[in-house]
């Protein structure tokens, strides 16, 4: 019983990663780290369209 659960878990994580990559979360892994440091949470421009 544990096995299917483990596999489903693994599958879910892969799925989550694929979704993240497809939606552009890994396109630029450097800028957001810097962007976060800006004090005033800036406008819409800072984010990728969904």
């Amino acid at each position: 019983m544990m096995i299917p659960i483990a596999l489903i878990f693994a599958g879910a994580f892969v799925g989550a990663f694929v979704w993240a990559a497809r939606s552009g979360q890994f396109d630029d892994v450097e800028t957001p780290a810097h962007r976060m440091l800006n004090e005033n949470e800036t406008m819409s421009s800072g984010r990728k369209e969904k």
């Binding site: 096995i3 483990a6 693994a10 990663f17 694929v18 890994f26 396109d27 800006n38 800072g46």
Partner: protein, 802 residues
């Protein structure tokens, strides 16, 4: 229509809003999106500053920074009234922040397709990681004693988990294998593809049979690690090599076309839309996008993009300039001769975009190196399979498969490319651009190092350091003498001509300021010495507005000088500018020597004189002389010594006069037998070939052949295009000292590659033997394979960094 308003015009990006430019710089599918390559963004503050541009409501734009690739993506959202909906305004704002936005043509930057490719790569890695990791977990349970039904279930799970690896993850290997088959070459993808499929089939059969080895775990593990290393390598190349291709491409596209005859009336035009005869205006700091003739009185130009030579050179009205030349001082008007691919620079850029520089053939090198090993492994496996088949078919398949998997030359598959990619990164930081990765190998094989003299060991361009008026020793050069020098040299592209033009335009500026002239007198004999003006004043055009001297019968005799007939009030006079004979130099030196004991080093100083033809005595009479100096590269001597210390023979080969070359050789501490003067193109190349393996360092047309023949050809900054095309290394910064560093980088790379190879060879040898003897079971393979791959990955990573 706009009028020139000098400094502000450098932030004029209005062309970006013209339909013709938008067509070039935006993708037809997303016309409101434009990407800019912006250098110099490094920190959080830069990101904030640039992205805050979008806060300006009037712009109606969205701005996103991609720091890793130095890209800024601008999307016009428009909509609200009062927004400008203009790329030009956004670009202007970025420029005002102090960054240089260069719009990218959609196919140049990382646009949608490249992003898709990146995402596909990363997803593939993730799937591979998940499958390999999970397979490993289940497989280990079996290795640690799981048996019976549970073990069967686990094996079947491994099988299912291997399916994505087989049909999705390993696709790049099949593609690579297929390509290599079509090109009739052996590639590292071969064993991977074969192992992936054969291993699967074999393991599947064993699984169904319920006995025998199962390799899903080891196969997925090492396929994953190899994909990781390839991904790392790809990222490195992208980050450090692609920016080279942005270089100049954009500048070549825009031109200010002048209407009618007034330089003040112009409009933007794509340079490809210009036609011969059009006049264009190029402002200070911009790059000339066409081949053409100077229409302005003169221009201070730099050939940096073309040849690497960054020193300013003065062009006069009517002279021809090539596309890629940069305007350093005043704005220049040009008449177009050729555009785009009609220009040498256009073709060069096109070639650059297509091939060599951006895709350094790192992979090929290691592929070639590993071919023989692959052949051995493949044929060994095959021979074993055939030979052992009669004894035990199952063991035959099993063992040859184990050999294929184990003895796969991982070090060469990714250790070498990684090491080379890291070295390339270091070389680029030194200002060295390498045409291919094998330079690192080749430079270490070099035994003889040849240096060209002019432009290579001597730094940059000739400078006029003294003027001597021989008609009136108390005075500076007369106005007429200056004008004659300039007018005579006007048709010449010889370095001396450039030096003279630069000197007189500079001194025109400084004499206006009247502070750079010093009169020195000694021994009752006085002579005026004008010291070199060090900076080019921007207000230096006054002198050139005077009428031109009426010269006829104007010609240049290559290697001798320039000559013309001057019609003055005294009738026709024949003038010439040529080098002084040595007895004349002695006379002039005597005069100079009185004030300056430092004297005259023949290897680096030259004297040219203005001569008037005396028809009575049938001889040239010296009117005035200019002393020119070629500064020595400060790193030259140290470099020569360093190479000698490494046991290399250093030679000096030059087309210059023997005694001059010898004198420089002495200055550098070279043995007389290693110094060769008066060498022509052929002789240089024969010399380089006869002393193979040799490294040739040169810059001129006369070096091009030798550069190509040499084992390693290095074109130095300031070199001509032909030299660059034939060399395998370009130096983009002056100073041959970087060569020593390149040598050290190569040594490091070599050590690293050798370390990887040794590890891998020992491993392959032991693993291969064990595999053939039948000692390798899936567990051993599963443990050994990733360990060796991981070890080499780490070894390259740490060895290559710093």
């Amino acid at each position: 229509m706009k009028t020139i308003s000098s400094p502000a015009s450098s932030v004029d990006f209005s062309f970006l809003d013209l339909p013709s430019f938008r067509q070039v710089y935006t993708d037809a599918r997303t016309p409101s999106k434009m990407r800019f390559y912006v250098r110099g963004m490094k920190c959080a503050k830069c990101v904030k500053k640039v992205e805050d541009i979008a806060m300006l409501d009037t712009l109606g734009a969205r701005v996103q920074v991609f720091l890793g690739e130095s890209l800024v993506e601008v999307t016009l959202i428009g909509g609200a009234s009062g927004t400008q909906n203009s790329f030009a305004e956004v670009a202007k704002k970025i420029k005002e922040l102090g960054y240089d936005p260069i719009p990218l043509e959609p196919h140049l930057g990382s646009q949608d397709e490249a992003i898709k490719e990146d995402r596909a790569d990363i997803i593939r890695l993730a799937v591979m990681a998940a499958c390999a990791g999970n397979i490993m977990t289940f497989a280990f349970a079996i290795y640690f004693g799981l048996s019976g039904v549970a073990a069967d279930i686990f094996n079947w799970i491994c099988f299912v988990l291997y399916l994505p690896v087989l049909f999705y993850g390993a696709l790049p290997f099949y593609q690579g294998f297929w390509r290599s088959i079509r090109q009739k070459e052996m590639s590292i993808d071969g064993p991977m593809a074969v192992a992936s499929v054969a291993g699967f089939v074999f393991s599947f059969i064993n699984l169904v049979r319920g006995q025998g080895s199962i390799y899903f775990d080891s196969l997925s593990g090492f396929l994953f690690l190899i994909l990781v290393s390839r991904y790392v390598q790809k990222r490195l190349q992208k980050k450090f090599l692609v920016p080279v291709s942005h270089f100049g491409a954009f500048e070549m596209n825009k031109a200010r076309k002048i209407f009618a005859t007034e330089a003040t009336d112009w409009s933007w035009s794509l340079s490809q839309d210009l036609s011969a005869g059009d006049q264009i205006l190029v402002l200070k700091n911009e790059v000339i996008p066409v081949d053409g003739w100077v229409v302005s009185d003169f221009g201070v130009l730099s050939l940096a993009y073309l040849t690497g030579e960054s020193k300013p050179q003065v062009f006069q009205k009517g002279m021809k300039v090539k596309a890629g030349t940069q305007v350093l001082e005043n704005d220049v008007v040009l008449r177009v001769e050729a555009t785009g691919l009609g220009t040498q620079f256009g073709r060069l850029l096109e070639g650059l975009k297509r091939s060599s520089l951006t895709r350094v053939k790192v992979q090929d090198v290691s592929d070639r190196a590993s071919q023989w090993l692959l052949w051995i492994v493949f044929s060994l496996a095959f021979v074993f399979l055939i030979g052992y088949w009669s004894i035990n078919p199952v063991a035959a398949v099993e063992r040859s498969l184990a050999l294929l998997i184990l003895a796969c030359p991982c070090a060469m598959a990714f250790g070498t490319p990684l090491a080379l990619a890291f070295s390339l990164k270091k070389a680029i930081r030194l200002g060295l651009i390498l045409k291919s990765g094998d330079v690192f190998e080749k430079i270490l094989q070099v035994e003889n190092v040849f240096f060209d003299k002019t432009g290579t060991l001597t730094e940059g361009s000739l400078q006029v350091v003294r003027t001597i008026n021989l008609q009136d020793k108390n005075a500076n050069l007369s106005q007429l003498q200056k004008q004659l020098f300039l007018a005579l040299e006007k048709i010449s592209y010889h370095p001396i001509a450039f030096a003279i033009r630069k000197y007189f335009t500079d001194s025109a500026a400084s004499s206006a300021n009247a502070n750079n002239n010093t009169n020195i007198s000694a021994d009752g004999q006085s002579l005026s010495v004008t010291t070199m003006a060090t900076s080019v004043d921007s207000s230096c055009n006054s002198e050139f507005e005077e009428q031109e001297l009426p010269l006829t019968d104007h010609y240049e005799k290559n290697g001798v000088g320039v000559f013309a007939t001057f019609s003055s009030q005294q009738g026709f006079q024949k003038y010439g500018v040529q080098a002084l004979a040595s007895n004349e130099i002695a006379v002039v030196n005597q005069v100079i020597g009185a004030q300056n004991s430092s004297g005259f080093n023949e290897s680096r100083h030259k004297m040219v004189g203005l001569y008037l033809w005396n028809s009575d005595s049938e001889a040239w009479a010296l009117q005035a002389a200019l002393q020119l100096e070629l500064p020595l590269d400060p790193s030259a001597k140290a470099t020569v010594q360093a190479f000698q210390k490494m046991g290399k023979n250093v030679y000096l080969v030059s087309g210059d006069e023997n005694r001059l070359v010898r004198s420089l050789g002495d200055e550098l501490g070279l043995d007389a037998s290693h110094v060769f003067g008066e060498m022509n193109v052929e002789q240089k190349s024969v010399m380089v070939q006869s002393k193979a393996p040799a490294m040739m360092v040169g810059d001129g047309v006369n070096d091009a052949l030798a550069l190509r023949q040499a084992h390693v050809g290095v074109a130095v900054v300031g070199g001509v295009e032909l030299a660059l095309e034939n060399a395998s290394v370009f130096m983009t910064q002056s100073g041959v000292g970087a060569l020593i560093q390149l040598y050290q980088i190569s040594q490091q790379a070599h050590r690293l590659i050798r370390r990887n190879l040794t590890i891998s060879l020992i491993y392959n040898l032991i693993g291969g033997t064990l595999a053939l003897m039948g000692f390798v079971n899936p567990f051993v393979a599963a443990v050994l394979m990733p360990i060796s791959s991981g070890f080499i990955l780490l070894s390259s990573w740490f060895g290559g960094r710093d």
